[in-house]
Symmetry: C2
Subunit: 228 residues, 2 copies
């Protein structure tokens, strides 16, 4: 799914409430409507939209009533800082439909074995939650350091650049290695102007290029220190 | 900031485009309007909203023109799976205004030293990006495993529960330790019904409680295996 599409979907409070409800249990339309205090007509139109986007799916129970559940497993991440805005959406695959081993094993488990297994699995879930919190911590530290270093870089760039265009170029290249064409587009400057500055910066040892897919990609020169 | 508020803000495409532009460089209203092909009136109303939310801030340049930049450093994460919907927003603090050491050190750096520093910082940025990718990988694996284990748990629960209410209770407790009141609210069942089932499940060794802030919190019994 396009991350922008997901942001559009999550931009509506009632859709968020529907998703939250379905993540706690599969529900019928009447249940959702009653629980959220929103008319069934509006609920159905949200459900249609969520279903089309592949976020939910519907099934039919023994009494031929339709119920809905979350179909997807995904992680959306938005990083926002003075130097970054990135939106990433990961579809996470899991072995739900796999079957194979598990069902046959399942048949042979009696109630006692199932009990032990349940306690074991529950303890594994707790571990995973703890690990999740650790990863979140690490990610925050990383983002904080990134922003601090970018601040320091801006100070250095002001010192080493001989004109505003060099400033802009170094700043762009610091964030990503990039092509002449992208630089022209982002900075709205003529290729000849940018090329002259790139050449000057390369001569002074600040930047270098590599060729990928028949294109020149410019980046800040690697000093070799980062190659572990 | 309330994560719901941020989702409301990001639910609009033009606001996302403004944020993206400002994360690449501070801009004037006229620049934003020209770049995005959206009238200045609409841009200004989006900017007002973004400023009120604390996402952007404005400054005035030497020619007394207002320009806008990203004021915040934050990470929004949405996890969505058949068993989870969590939205977390982390405000990430960084030492931007700190000053102290850095400025005095900055004064003493000449152009040559600044050049070396810039290359060093750039190489650190590259490391951070690599690390970021690794963390993202880990987080995805974690989420996949979580969903798989929840699937297995559901199988076990079906085996060990003697009635649908026990099923529901075990499922709720698997996701979070929780109070009687929350269970009543989530399952829409009378306290006496839930209490009877909790007592039965406790007797059979599936669940246990702890007391926090004068409240009973029920959870799946810890077997001790998870305590490293």
């Amino acid at each position: 799914m396009d991350p922008a599409k997901l942001l559009d979907i999550l931009g509506n409070e009632n859709r968020r409430r529907i998703i939250q409800l379905l993540a706690s249990r599969p529900c019928y339309v009447s249940e959702i409507s009653g629980r959220l205090g929103v008319g069934p007509k509006a609920i159905i139109s949200h459900l249609d939209l969520l279903e089309q986007a592949g976020i939910i799916e519907c099934s039919v129970d023994e009494q031929r009533r339709k119920y809905f559940n979350i179909a997807n497993n995904m992680r959306l991440e938005v990083l926002l800082s003075p130097y970054t805005y990135t939106v990433t959406l990961h579809d996470i695959h899991f072995n739900r439909e796999k079957g194979g081993e598990t069902p046959s094993k399942k048949e042979t488990l009696d109630r006692e074995e199932s009990s032990t297994l349940l306690l074991k699995l529950s303890s594994r879930l707790r571990e995973l939650k703890k690990r999740q919190e650790e990863l979140t911590q690490m990610q925050q530290q990383l983002q904080a350091e990134y922003t601090e270093i970018m601040d320091q870089c801006l100070d250095s760039i002001e010192k080493v650049a001989t004109n505003p265009i060099e400033c802009e170029l170094l700043f762009e290249l610091l964030r990503n290695e990039t092509t002449l064409a992208s630089l022209c587009y982002n900075l709205r400057l003529h290729p000849s102007v940018i090329n002259a500055s790139l050449t000057a910066l390369e001569k002074r040892g600040f930047i270098e290029y590599s060729i990928k897919n028949n294109q020149y990609y410019w980046k800040i020169r690697e000093t070799g220190a980062e190659n572990e």
